[in-house]
């Protein structure tokens, strides 16, 4: 393992900024475990991961990271209440079978949930749908409707509405571009929903 701080993806950097040092973290859909390694090295967190893809799991474990193979839809129910300080779900919510239930489980086993997802309300998607009448194709939404794993697209406004409906407090949120860099649409949800390519939310239970 490399002890030097490594440069990680901008969107993961943004997520890491939301995590308090020394906390217990579960990263769902952790891929090769880049974020949990970063949280362990830079923030002394007890960070673990769950990943669906066995190749990624092996890569992570062979790198010395605690990762188990599993599915967000079925695995979260096996954890006890309040076992973690943060449950992270990065760019995965739109691909799970029951997003609402997954969110509910996240805020049961963790005191905070950090969720990021591609924003289907972005202007370019709206424009494509309006002008061509076909499902939009962009850098973020780049698979045909019949083969995309992203079966539950939502917009930033949709997500705010769900949080309100299910009683989650939005402690922090921001809109980001495709690479994950922060965008300036902080003041207006409507502008964020139009110009943000991704939404990033820090939630806790009411």
């Amino acid at each position: 393992m490399n002890a030097l701080p490594k440069k990680i993806r901008v969107d993961l950097e943004l997520i890491a900024e939301l995590v308090a040092p020394g906390s217990r973290v579960l990263d769902i859909g952790c891929a090769d475990g880049t974020l949990i390694e970063h949280l362990f090295r830079e923030k002394q967190c007890d960070a673990r991961g769950v990943e669906l893809d066995m190749q990624e799991v092996q890569r992570a474990v062979a790198h010395g990271l605690p990762v188990m193979q599993g599915d967000a839809d079925t695995e979260l129910v096996t954890y006890p209440d309040n076992a973690f300080d943060y449950i992270i779900l990065s760019r995965t919510l739109q691909a799970v079978e029951k997003p609402r239930e997954v969110l509910r489980q996240m805020l049961r086993i963790g005191t905070h949930a950090i969720v990021s997802f591609p924003n289907f309300g972005h202007w370019s998607l709206r424009l494509q749908l309006l002008t061509k009448g076909r499902m939009p194709m962009t850098a973020g939404w780049n698979r045909m409707w019949f083969e995309t794993p992203n079966i539950h697209p939502c917009t930033i406004s949709d997500f705010f509405a769900l949080c309100e409906q299910d009683g989650y407090i939005v402690e922090n949120w921001l809109a980001a571009d495709e690479q994950g860099a922060r965008t300036p649409w902080r003041r207006s949800r409507k502008l964020a929903n139009l110009f943000g390519e991704q939404g990033l939310f820090l939630l806790r239970k009411a």
Binding site: G64, M68, Q69
Partner: protein, 412 residues
């Protein structure tokens, strides 16, 4: 060969020594008999109280070590062996003359690196390679341990936790207060789980491989065929075969043949043998026909040269009795409540004896108590035996897991 076997079964009592030579491979295998080899061991005069309530007045544990124990005694890894293996994990086996059973995994620069770690492997309680078992003198409670005949089938029924308690005596004897890791596959994995449940503070990392938290009905059923085959052998003499100067080799060989089928996948058997014929002369039911038959017969015959039938009965029964959840009011996670141990569970995709679902159930039970758990299913077509074979994905995973744990344990 099968025909000759059939005749041997009907041989008159007293026709003894020749029985083994009826097996192909036996002539090549001129290894000394089990009793002639001196194994490195330590004897604990305090004995051991067993799960069954009986007490062994003294216990001998035969073991081997590889690598060097560091000054802090913090780099020790205990390997737990499977049903018919032994303490010779990473060196030539003195009985069979073959390389150690985990030579591929344990050694300098290998995944379990003996340049970093001090590796210990002991023969299980109930075994026949120097640790107290059915071949040891019966202490019959008289207080004179060396007075008796071998225990034979009167050896108390030991359990997997009993095996672990005997290993704990050895670990204490070596002055090790915490094992860096406990690693084992199959029945070895059961021991790893028992270690983590019985002595959580003494196990920094646990690696149960290709195993389960209980022995399934199907697995018990396969074991029972083996035990019945041994019991039906006319040379078994109700377990007192040593007094007749014979061994129930036919029964033990059949037991091994049955078990061996469960260790491999259908795919591996098909690839290796398919429907290839061998020595097929005409059509007969008992003559050799298929290549897979002579392979199995070889597996059976080489096994009887190195293993004691009573040990086989005792250890298979110990596996059958294993049910970690049952020991904790039916709740598996209760066995690991509050554990700080770091776990790595590994299963193999074509293992139908200890399928992935069993490992996943253990991983979920560990999730229930928010334990630190990694879980990997390795793609392999080699069946249960894959954990002993060249599976690079498994080896990389274990090597990396240990390196990560070493960092957390402050072993640098």
């Amino acid at each position: 060969m099968a025909k000759r076997l059939y005749e041997a079964a009907n041989a008159p009592k007293g026709c003894t020594a020749g029985a083994a030579s009826a097996y192909p491979g036996a002539a090549m295998d001129q290894s000394p008999t089990l009793a002639e080899i001196q194994h490195q061991s330590v004897t604990f005069p305090g004995g051991l109280t067993l799960d069954c309530g009986r007490r062994l007045l003294e216990v001998t544990v035969a073991y081997r070590t590889y690598g060097t124990l560091n000054a802090a005694k913090s780099n020790a890894i205990l390997l737990c062996h499977a049903l018919t293996l032994d303490q010779y994990a990473a060196e030539q086996n003195p009985v069979t003359g073959k390389p150690g059973w985990w030579d591929i995994m344990v050694g300098p620069g290998k995944p379990i690196d003996t340049e970093r770690y001090f590796v210990i492997c002991s023969n299980v309680l109930g075994g026949c390679m120097g640790t107290t078992g059915p071949r040891s003198p019966n202490d019959d409670g008289s207080g004179q341990p060396h007075s008796g005949q071998p225990w034979g089938t009167e050896f108390p029924q030991v359990t997997v936790p009993d095996m672990v308690r005997a290993q704990k005596l050895l670990i204490d004897h070596l002055g090790i207060s915490r094992l860096f890791a406990v690693i084992g596959g199959s029945m070895g994995g059961m021991q790893v789980l028992a270690w983590a449940a019985l002595y959580p503070a003494q196990v920094f990392a646990a690696v149960p491989v290709a195993t389960a938290s209980y022995h399934s009905a199907q697995n018990i059923a396969f074991h029972e065929i083996g035990r019945q085959a041994i019991a039906a052998d006319p040379y078994f003499y109700a377990g007192r075969y040593w007094s007749e100067g014979v061994r129930p080799e036919r029964g033990l060989a059949v037991a091994r043949m049955t078990a061996h089928i469960t260790y491999v996948s259908e795919e591996a058997l098909a690839r290796k043998f398919g429907r290839k014929l061998q020595n097929a002369e005409g059509l007969s039911a008992l003559g050799d026909q298929f290549a897979v038959e002579s392979y199995l017969q070889y597996q059976g015959s080489s096994f009887v040269q190195r293993f004691d039938a009573n040990s086989y009965l005792t250890i298979t029964r110990a596996m059958d009795l294993f049910d970690l959840a049952a020991d904790h009011n039916g709740v598996l996670s209760a066995a690991f409540k509050g554990t700080k141990t770091r776990f790595l569970l590994v299963s193999f995709s074509s293992d139908w004896l200890f399928p992935t679902a069993q490992s996943r159930a253990i991983a979920r039970a560990l999730n229930h108590v928010a334990a630190n758990v990694s879980f990997v299913e390795v793609q392999s077509d080699k069946g249960h035996d894959a954990f002993l074979l060249d599976e690079p994905d498994f080896h990389h995973t274990l090597r990396g897991f240990l390196a990560g744990c070493a960092e957390h344990a402050g072993l640098v």
